[in-house]
């Protein structure tokens, strides 16, 4: 596997009489600004470390119909049309149960490998998708930070790591990857994650060409009901971090180098692993499948990021919300089966998050409006299963929303120190938050 160092060394030493295309590329890519050059002289990360998967539920997941407080009269009264009855759920306690669209997560809970943190949020919550997503991804409730919590983890706790320390399966870089030095990489399809430059690569050129000629417009007419949350269907990008004062050209050169270095590694690894586990055809399942392949191939990646969109359920939400949760459940079922088959299940923890929950009371369109606190899932054998945190009251509300009982930065902090073994949280989260006990 070539590292940044190898690339730069070949650039420096690569004085050659004849110009080949690869030589040209290495020379051109090697012309980097100082910042990237410094970064290059570093060791790489190990392959047997723990791994975190961050799964975004974009659009504001209705926590109250995900982890349902079925036994609470206030819940049933506030949601006469969309509320779940006791017989419609997977009971977890006398008070709450899981939405029945998630049988796999229900069984994982019984096995003790699913932790559910209740009432997660932050002080002075913001109800804008974009601001609140930024807050979650940057872990800065003031929304001033230009870098993300995972990007700061890469920068501060993984010195000298290759760009593949974080991989996001998306077209835009998630804000949480925003970093000063190392923002990880984004990719869609490992086979095409390369530069196709000469005639000797017919297969790749053809596949790329075929992809280029296969328009695939997703107009969701699956149901006659409205596609919920189309207005925030996809993960939003946004702040990308970057070195202060760095111009666009320097930024581009840095990304180009990362692309060169990571492309080789990823191609090699993607070719290695094929699974016999069946995945659904949803984008989420496809991406979880890719994550599993990367892990099986021994990538040095510590954090993978995938996204599942469509949770902005303002209108007729019951079917669409249940369907989205069902897709999540099914994707995770395949993913964890795959990891088990590989023997990597003990190395992986998965965490979900969403920018906010939704209003307790349903709206006139049998949907729910933007809310505040919500629940999140932690899955994996490294997790202490069960309910964590205290479920917020459904009667002591703030502007019609439940109040948070757990600050999301406590969840991040616990994962960072107890699972990813970050030595020091100060530079990542800015402060220390009360530790929780869901790891182990």
């Amino acid at each position: 596997m070539k590292t940044r160092r190898d690339f730069l060394r070949s650039t420096v030493l690569g004085a050659s009489a004849t110009w080949t295309v690869p030589m040209f590329i290495e020379r051109t890519f090697g012309q980097l600004h100082e910042g990237a050059r410094d970064l290059a002289i570093q060791p790489t990360t190990g392959k047997d470390d723990t791994i975190l998967i961050v799964l975004q539920l974009a659009g504001g997941n209705d926590g109250l119909n995900t982890l349902v407080p079925f036994a609470d009269d206030a819940y049933q009264k506030s949601r006469p049309r969309i509320g779940k009855k006791e017989k419609e759920i997977i009971k977890l306690s006398d008070y709450v149960g899981l939405n029945a669209a998630m049988p796999f997560l229900g069984s994982l809970f019984k096995e003790g490998d699913l932790g559910i943190v209740q009432g997660v949020g932050y002080p002075n919550p913001n109800r804008s998708h974009f601001v609140s997503t930024s807050i979650w991804e940057t872990a800065d409730t003031g929304n001033h930070s230009n870098t993300g919590w995972l990007g700061r983890y890469f920068d501060n706790a993984c010195p000298g790591a290759d760009p593949t320390v974080g991989i996001s399966f998306s077209k835009t870089q998630p804000e949480s990857f925003g970093a000063v030095k190392n923002p990880g990489v984004c990719l869609n399809s490992p086979e095409l994650y390369r530069w196709i430059h000469s005639g000797g690569e017919k297969d790749q050129a053809e596949q790329f060409f075929a992809d280029l000629n296969k328009p695939n417009i997703q107009v969701d007419h699956d149901d006659d009901e409205v596609l919920e949350g189309g207005s925030i269907a996809m993960a939003a990008g946004g702040k990308v971090g970057g070195i202060t004062g760095e111009g666009n050209l320097a930024f581009l050169e840095r990304v180009a180098l990362d692309a060169r270095v990571s492309s080789k590694t990823i191609l090699e690894i993607a070719a290695k692993h094929k699974t016999s586990v069946r995945y659904d055809g949803t984008p989420l399942a496809r991406n979880l499948n890719l994550v599993a392949r990367m892990i099986a191939g021994g990538m040095p990646t510590r954090v993978y990021y995938v996204s599942h969109g469509g949770f902005d359920t303002h209108n007729q939400q019951v079917n669409s919300h249940d369907r989205l949760l069902g897709q999540l459940d099914s994707g995770l079922k395949s993913f964890f089966a795959d990891l088990k088959q590989q023997g990597n299940d003990k190395r992986v923890v998965l965490m979900t998050f969403s920018e906010f929950g939704r209003r307790v009371t349903e709206n006139a369109s049998a949907g729910t409006d933007h809310g505040k606190a919500s629940c999140l899932f932690l899955a994996g054998s490294g997790i202490k299963g069960g309910l964590h945190g205290i479920h917020p009251s459904l009667t002591d509300l703030s502007e019609g929303d439940i109040k948070h009982t757990v600050d999301f930065r406590s969840v991040y902090g616990t994962i960072l120190s107890d699972w990813l073994k970050a030595p020091n949280l100060k530079p990542i989260l800015g402060a220390n938050y009360p530790k929780m006990s869901f790891v182990g």
Binding site: H129, W195, K202, K214, A233, A235, A236, F251, N315, A364
Partner: protein, 506 residues
């Protein structure tokens, strides 16, 4: 008023204006644009003679045919449910699925039609600034076919943006309140007295006019009441106001109290000076560079508000300002995917790319027309670029410059059958041989590698490149030249020049 640039200008400045106010051009287009002089060139962009209907939209979106098919679709659903009486649940389910499938296929084809139509219009239009502003408004008042689903509403909205492209921001915002696509996108068709839906009220303040921090939660709640009662008449395809569903009681917004309706709220918003500043800053960042100085924005905002939010004079001031041509502006912007693709095709003098290519390239690079990711529109600048999209840009450049390698048999033709109905699409899809290099790099030019490279540098970068980069290209060209410089070798050289960080800038 900003300091003005002087009338005489360089060809690089002319190219910069054409890149930013439009989608660039080939060397001869840039030369004639430069010859106009700065002020005439700016006026040509702003006062266009190209008729609004110069590019007829897809037939299904026009006039009676459009309304007829809109109604037919509504009818199909109704008839279907009536016909289902007497069927077993399984049969009814199957019949429903069939009907939905048909509508789905029709919708998909129509979405492709309009994406291709607008892209070609941007590529060929003689009013590039109007198209660029249409794209700006599409991003600003973002709606997506994924949720709106009715292609007609997006074609109509596109027409609204084009008509008002350089007109009044205030009038356009009022029109958006009555826009069917926006209504469906933000779910406001179901906002009723008593239980108003806050979506539109929030986005109109946060994203469309004032920006975060310039209104309170209370303003949003109160405005949502004022925005109740608007509904979409699906038969006529128009938005109307139903007084019975409207909350007619007093509301207090920005400290003012009255029985406001939606139109009144937008009027109140435009009394705030933040509305002018918000739009001026956004336009500056779109056309010039990010993080402008407060002073520049402040001075432009004052005249913008005084002109009742007219876009044309504001852009004229910007394009004639000295600041627009400074080093921090020229070739400092990361091309959006649409900008990247259209510039690339113009520079290589390709006028008729296939629908399949046009739409898939947009998807792979992360900007599909009529499909912005969410109501905040696309994220611009550095957000376009990551390891994945950068490699994809390099590979798209390879496809466009080199074609399919000229070996027709090696391509699996079944893969390209699915797109495009006309034979032109198939022709280009199956065997795309690349641009006409006889025109782009005529044979005499190929004799001297440094001239060849300099000519291509102007074509692709419209400015001198650092010596180091220029020398690498010349060295490469010299080593490749051999006895004659074949088209294939020119293509290889072009592909290398385009597979660089610098090419991502305009």
């Amino acid at each position: 008023m900003l300091e003005q640039a002087k009338e005489s200008w360089t060809i690089f400045e002319a190219a910069h204006l054409l890149n930013r106010a439009g989608f660039g051009g080939n060397p001869s287009e840039i030369k004639s644009f430069h010859a106009l002089g700065r002020e005439k060139a700016v006026d040509l962009l702003i006062v266009t003679t190209e008729p609004l209907d110069a590019f007829p939209p897809p037939a299904w979106s026009v006039g009676d045919q459009a309304l007829a098919s809109l109604r037919a679709r509504q009818q199909a659903f109704k008839k279907n449910s009536r016909a289902n009486v007497g069927m077993s649940p399984e049969e009814a389910e199957r019949a429903k699925k069939e009907a939905i499938k048909m509508i789905q296929q029709e919708g998909r084809q129509e979405a492709l039609d309009m994406q291709s139509w607008w892209f070609h219009r941007m590529l060929k239009s003689l009013a590039p600034l109007r198209e660029k502003m249409t794209l700006f408004w599409h991003d600003h008042f973002a709606t997506s076919i994924q949720k709106v689903k009715e292609p007609l509403f997006l074609v109509n909205q596109n027409d609204l943006f084009r008509r008002n492209a350089l007109g009044s921001f205030k009038d356009l915002t009022q029109a958006i309140l009555m826009d069917p696509a926006m209504m469906l996108y933000l779910d406001t068709q179901s906002s009723k007295k008593g239980k108003p839906n806050e979506n539109f009220a929030r986005e109109v303040m946060e994203l469309f006019t004032l920006g975060e921090g310039n209104y309170t939660e209370q303003d949003v709640h109160e405005a949502a009441r004022a925005f109740s009662g608007y509904y979409l008449n699906k038969g006529s395809g128009k938005v109307a106001h139903d007084k019975r569903q409207w909350d007619s009681a007093d509301k207090t917004i920005f400290g003012k109290t009255g029985p406001f309706n939606g139109k009144d709220v937008i009027g109140l918003i435009f009394e705030k000076k933040e509305a002018a500043r918000f739009m001026v800053k956004k336009l500056w960042e779109f056309f010039v560079y990010e993080n402008p100085s407060d002073a520049a924005i402040e001075s432009l905002s004052v005249s913008f508000q005084r002109s009742d939010f007219q876009i044309a004079p504001l852009l004229r001031d910007i394009f004639l300002s000295k600041e627009f041509y400074t080093e921090s502006a020229i070739r400092s912007q990361i091309k959006s995917p649409i900008q990247y693709l259209i510039e690339l095709l113009k520079q290589l003098e390709i006028t008729d790319p296939s629908t399949g290519f046009v739409v898939s390239a947009q998807q792979q690079l992360g900007q599909v027309l009529f499909m912005p990711p969410n109501v905040a529109g696309w994220d611009w600048g550095q957000a376009w670029i990551n390891t994945n999209t950068l490699l994809t840009r390099y590979n798209i450049a390879g496809f466009v410059t080199k074609g399919t390698g000229g070996d027709e048999k090696s391509m699996d033709t079944t893969k390209v059958k699915s797109f495009g109905k006309d034979s032109k699409d198939k022709r280009m899809g199956r065997a795309w041989y690349g641009p006409n290099y006889k025109e782009i790099a005529p044979h005499p030019l190929r004799e001297i590698p440094s001239d060849l490279v300099d000519s291509l540098i102007f074509r692709f970068f419209q400015c001198p490149l650092p010596d180091k980069a220029r020398k690498s290209f010349i060295e490469y060209a010299t080593s490749e030249k051999g006895v004659i410089f074949t088209d294939k070798e020119i293509a290889q050289l072009c592909h290398l020049m385009l597979s660089t960080p610098s090419y991502q800038l305009c």
